[in-house]
């Protein structure tokens, strides 16, 4: 029983890392619509998915113009934080 639980846990961790890597690749390739969809899926499947915010921030530092310091130039961070908060809230309500 414990072994089975451990196996399940390992599989979940593996899936989470795999999805994060795919998400990171989508961000590097500037496929931001795909990245948003993957981030939503990621947040839905796994709780406390803080790496989504990190990847959103990574998107901004990679592509934004440094001299432009408006909030628009942090669209990735804002969007990923929004997805994180919204998906966690929805998941909490549904899984109550």
């Amino acid at each position: 029983m414990v072994n089975r639980q451990k196996k399940m846990m390992n599989r979940k961790i593996f899936l989470r890392i795999l999805l994060d890597l795919i998400l990171l690749f989508a961000v590097i390739q500037n496929w931001w619509i795909i990245a948003v969809v993957l981030a939503c899926v990621n947040c839905w499947l796994f709780s406390c998915n803080f790496e989504i915010i990190v990847i959103g921030f990574f998107y901004d530092v990679l592509f934004r113009v440094i001299s432009a310091s408006s909030p628009v130039s942090y669209v990735g961070t804002i969007l990923s934080t929004g997805i994180f908060v919204a998906s966690n809230a929805i998941a909490k309500i549904i899984r109550r």
Binding site: I28, N30, W32, F57, V61, L62, F63, V65, S67
Partner: protein, 290 residues
């Protein structure tokens, strides 16, 4: 007793939440301070992660994995295209000479760059492209590959290979084949630079539209697209050229659509750069043209 246990558990949970909150706030403050005082640190790290992917992709698109046979076949095909382009070049030469003579007739001295004759045909064949590259080096421009185009991203910009290592500076003008201005360098990192496109949303630019050179203000829509409002009497049609006011009149864009509302005295023209920014693979950085 049970109540006490519940309260303890509740307190512990609350304390953990406070500690997590404080920890997160500290991290956010540290990141904000780094962004404020060392704004190039995170972008440089991100570039180290991303640029190997882009360079590999660029090499594959450039034919690094093609077989020698297919490269030879492509070479032959390009030679044929070059012959075709050379034939067209003769016509362009004649028209350019006529243009220079006309301007001289009206008292305007035109400095013809050594590259002008080569540029027209360069987009057609690789061999002529190489000729143009060597010619443009004489003009002080540096050829740079485009690692990442605007794509479908939220930021309308190009990321090009070469940064402070190539002496690029913020404000350096960026051209594509055909001496067409597309933007300027907005950020310089150690080995890469970011190019803000003229077509960035909201960017405003003075242009001359159509065969009668109607003066208009073009507004960027992103992805190499612009729109401008011109009087209906200007009779602009699809395929007309748009130029930037200067003595060196090279086409800056081509009208792709005209939105005509009979109730309005103005019509909206949509135009795009002759070369799609999503397809740009090489650019020329002009350090002297700031």
């Amino acid at each position: 007793m049970i109540y006490l246990q519940t309260n303890n558990h509740h307190d512990r949970k609350r304390r953990a939440q406070i500690v997590t909150g404080v920890f997160l706030i500290i991290i956010i403050i540290i990141i904000a301070l780094i962004q404020l005082f060392l704004p190039h640190l995170f972008p440089a790290i991100a570039m180290i992660v991303a640029s190997p992917f882009w360079r590999t992709e660029f090499a594959i698109e450039s034919g690094a994995l093609k077989s020698p046979q297919s490269l030879l076949a492509e070479n032959e095909s390009l030679k044929l295209q070059l012959q075709d382009a050379d034939a067209r070049l003769l016509t362009i030469h004649a028209i350019e000479q006529e243009n220079i003579d006309l301007k001289a007739f009206f008292g305007r001295n035109v400095n013809v760059s050594s590259t002008s004759s080569d540029e027209s045909s360069s987009s057609l064949a690789y061999s002529s492209f190489i000729r143009m590259v060597s010619a443009t080096k004489l003009g002080g421009r540096i050829l740079s590959p485009v690692l990442m185009g605007p794509g479908i991203g939220a930021y309308d910009e190009l990321i090009i290979d070469g940064g402070s290592d190539m002496n690029f500076e913020i404000g350096d003008k960026v051209y594509i084949v055909g001496d067409i201005l597309i933007g300027s360098i907005s950020d310089v990192l150690p080995k890469t630079s970011k190019v803000s496109l003229l077509s960035s949303p909201g960017n405003i630019l003075g242009v001359l539209v159509g065969p009668y050179n109607v003066s208009a203000t073009a507004v960027g829509r992103g992805g190499g697209q612009y729109f401008a409002q011109v009087p209906r009497t200007a009779k602009i049609t699809e395929g007309d050229f748009v130029i930037i006011p200067s003595i060196d009149d090279r086409p800056f864009g081509v009208i792709s659509a005209v939105e005509n509302d009979p109730t309005q005295s103005f019509e909206t023209v949509l135009f795009a750069a002759p070369l799609n920014p999503y397809e740009i693979r090489w650019v020329f950085v002009d350090g002297n043209g700031k």
